[in-house]
Symmetry: C2
Subunit: 498 residues, 2 copies
């Protein structure tokens, strides 16, 4: 990696008489830097009136812009006292960074704040409009990382996702091969919601979903020792900045804006127009609503991690086992919606666990036991488990293999007879189980008294449980296994329409 | 009420030769109108080249703009065929409406689309920039209504709200006079949420809130025969237009916007900037997020009514008794937040009932019985019931009195020892019970096989139940009544921090 920075210091007065003194200071400063990184080289290019022309280069770890900012301090301190000389302004003439990519880019790409020259695996970032303030921010290394990541992703795109079977049940006989959502809609148990990808569960469908909730809590979470917490449904951007969700899937959020004011007078014209026209005046609305600053819960774990931010957890509280089942999740799906299994709004119980590596590996076994119990003994369905690689690991280019499977995700997939043959059709991911290492632990600066902490979660999507169960077992309780009937014997009567 | 409209019809060619014919047609048309409303008078003011100058006045129910639009059709039909003459354009020169208010305005006010001249109780609306299209929309009568309403509200402002005691418990001894929220926060049972007016319930506080949920369902809703439904948390504007919420409290919503696209390329620059700067670029975000089109659930009943929109309910399904406990409510509070009892986000069970007047009055008695049972036998708290007037009745200027109390709201209020003396301090409204007549039934066009339908709801705010109970009974389970201990014997251990 080779950095080259040309810059001009503008001083408060003419520096012609101080040339030698400046040369000495800069040369001494360079010597100090060389002790840290022998590649840093500061060259004086010219002195003209008030201006000092510098070039700083490096091909080690020490960045020229950091050298420049430190040099400014050194000169200001030394020459300020002695000669009442100050640095008025730093102008960046050019700043280029040359480095080699692991592989040749497959197509053009862009990086904000820079032009790119690419030749084979060689890349040159030519920074644009760089101010002193820009240099102070920690942008430059992130720009380099982003360039590498973009090229790595070009190679990753189109690759098959990592998927490795762990376990599968025997094939089962299924009572039907209909789409349970369609059948429930036909019977009026379920109704399309008022906006896209949402549902209104009438008493019959609600009873099934709530039975799933009860099973998850009584057969999985309570036996393992989980306690309920209640979190907010509204997630501010600062939490998603920490978890990486805002850079991961900004196109999938439902965004939330607050009113700029509750003042009735400020809203008077909007109210008057609404009363007269019975329509929304969006221009008037915009005046009274601020920019989005939050989103609807996407997954519950970020807010749970936030609740531990900066804390030190007592050793005897480990592993922490808590779950939220109150926040409702929203994901903007645009296309690809289907039935209750692929929706914009869904109901998930999210257990989160924080503990030592050993505690979490042990917990994973317990979870698998309990899930097997539910899916085999209570649902009696055809399903399988596989190692998969979740997005944040995919993005980092770290494909899962056996050696990294201390952390990672297990997907639980169910055969959906309505989709066709069990071998060729797509199975439904209806449950997952992840151990995430210290990713979120370190993002939120969570500590234990002594131990190194890891964390994980295992989202229980109730709609997915309903879809998997009904797709195989049908909607007639007579065909349901006894284990399930203990939780729901019959479908409530519901409301009759003419 | 006196309407006066001056207008010019521009024809496709010169009408000088058709003066008499036009006069006859207009005069005949006026005769037809006079049969409906004898005050409608159409006068021809002039003929110049292609233009016909008209004046239409009325002081009855028939509006001049409707006369104008009908006249356009009559002339177009008659003269189009016969003379190949069309009306190219209608220009509105002036349109004024004079009427008398019930009372003299107390201060100036405005109405969109009009200038106002007010003199005592007399008011003149002078319409501005009126197009044919404007006349076609049903705005003018709503503007008149709005003017009357605004003046009526000027008299209403500052008036005390209607409040009439129905029943009160004996005074009780209270175990403490502390603010339960503060005490729970001190003990780490509860933590301020990530955004204003939200809370994070750790296991201890969550257990209390969830006990309240269980009590409400098992002691109130199931005994009365309610069934659970599950509704969406996201309410589109068209529902709030129908219920009147959008004109009632637009400054209290959390607004929701969708991404304009999920396309990764469209979001690439936003993602790049977020990765480099670790901040939100709001300009870039705005490009990818559409205008708000919905809000977070404010109360659950609007979506429940929507689910019955346009249906005819079988007589034997009446009364309909359903509740939602899944949607989380958001209300932007700006100021006045306090503890868990006045918040921006809360958890409410909302039973909605639809049936005949008689069924609903009977149901109200059942509710009161069950609530009395809970508040006296399970909570053992000091509380009272009062008739109050909810906002939508206030707005319509219909104050509650004994004669209108078939419809109306009962508030349940609890003494909060931490607020001071029981006589002078403000009690907490911790429950309500409303019968709303046919307001929402007709807004959503809901019908029964035979009966006239009414509806109502009775929001059970779980945070309010917790606040009322703990304020009187404290947070030490030893001091809790046996009835409550049946639902929650002890506080869970929770997590220890250093």
């Amino acid at each position: 990696m080779k950095f080259n920075l040309s810059s001009i210091f503008s001083f408060s007065s003419d520096i012609s008489s101080m040339k030698n003194e400046l040369k000495t200071t800069i040369s001494n400063f360079n010597k100090v830097l060389i002790e840290k990184d022998k590649s840093v080289k500061i060259e004086i290019k010219n002195f003209i009136n008030n201006s000092l022309y510098l070039n700083i280069s490096s091909d080690g770890f020490f960045r020229p812009h950091n050298a420049l900012l430190q040099l400014k301090n050194v000169i200001s301190k030394e020459f300020g006292k002695k000669h009442h000389l100050g640095i008025r302004n730093i102008k960046i003439d050019s700043y280029t960074i040359d480095f080699e990519l692991e592989k040749k880019p497959l197509k053009d790409f862009t990086i904000p704040f820079a032009k790119l020259n690419v030749s084979g695996k060689q890349i040159k970032l030519i920074l644009e409009d760089v101010s002193e303030d820009f240099l102070r921010r920690n942008y430059i290394d992130r720009m380099i990382t982003l360039a590498k990541e973009k090229v790595a992703n070009q190679y990753y795109e189109g690759k098959e996702e990592f998927w490795k079977l762990i376990w599968e049940s025997d094939p089962k006989k299924h009572v039907w091969s209909k789409d349970p959502t369609e059948e429930m809609v036909k019977r009026g148990w379920l109704k399309q919601g008022p906006t896209k990808g949402k549902w209104f569960y009438r008493p019959q469908a609600a009873a099934i979903l709530k039975a799933m909730e009860k099973i998850a809590i009584e057969e999985v979470l309570i036996p393992i020792g989980f306690q309920e917490i209640i979190e907010s449904n509204i997630v501010p951007f600062d939490i998603w900045l920490k978890t990486g969700h805002l850079e991961g899937m900004p196109g999938e959020f439902y965004y939330i804006s607050e009113p700029t004011s509750r003042d009735v007078e400020k809203w008077e014209r909007f109210v008057d127009l609404t009363k007269i026209t019975k329509e929304i005046d969006f221009d008037e609305l915009k005046k009274n609503v601020s920019a989005p600053s939050a989103g609807i819960c996407y997954a519950q774990c970020p807010v749970i991690y936030w609740s531990f931010k900066g804390t030190t957890i007592s050793e005897k509280s480990l592993p922490i086992l808590i779950y939220d089942k109150t926040a409702v999740s929203g994901r903007y799906e645009s296309g690809g919606r289907h039935g209750i299994e692929r929706v914009d709004e869904f109901h998930r119980i999210e257990p989160v666990y924080i503990g030592t590596r050993k505690q979490l590996l042990n917990l994973r076994d317990k979870f698998i036991d309990r899930y097997k119990h539910v899916f085999n003994n209570i649902f009696d369905i055809e399903w399988r488990m596989a190692w998969v690689t979740p997005w944040y690991i995919q993005q980092a280019g770290k494909l899962g293999d056996e050696s990294t499977q201390d952390t990672g995700t297990i997907d639980f997939e169910a055969y959906m007879p309505y989709r066709g043959d069990r071998r060729s059709s797509e199975w439904l991911e209806f449950q997952n189980l992840s151990i995430l290492g210290d990713k979120y632990i370190s993002a939120f600066n969570i500590k234990a008294q002594k131990s190194e902490l890891w964390s994980g979660c295992s989202g229980i999507g109730l709609e997915r449980w309903v879809a998997a169960f009904l797709a195989q077992k049908g909607i007639n309780p007579d065909n349901w296994p006894d284990g399930f009937k203990k939780y729901l014997k019959e479908i409530p009567k519901g409301i009759e329409f003419l």
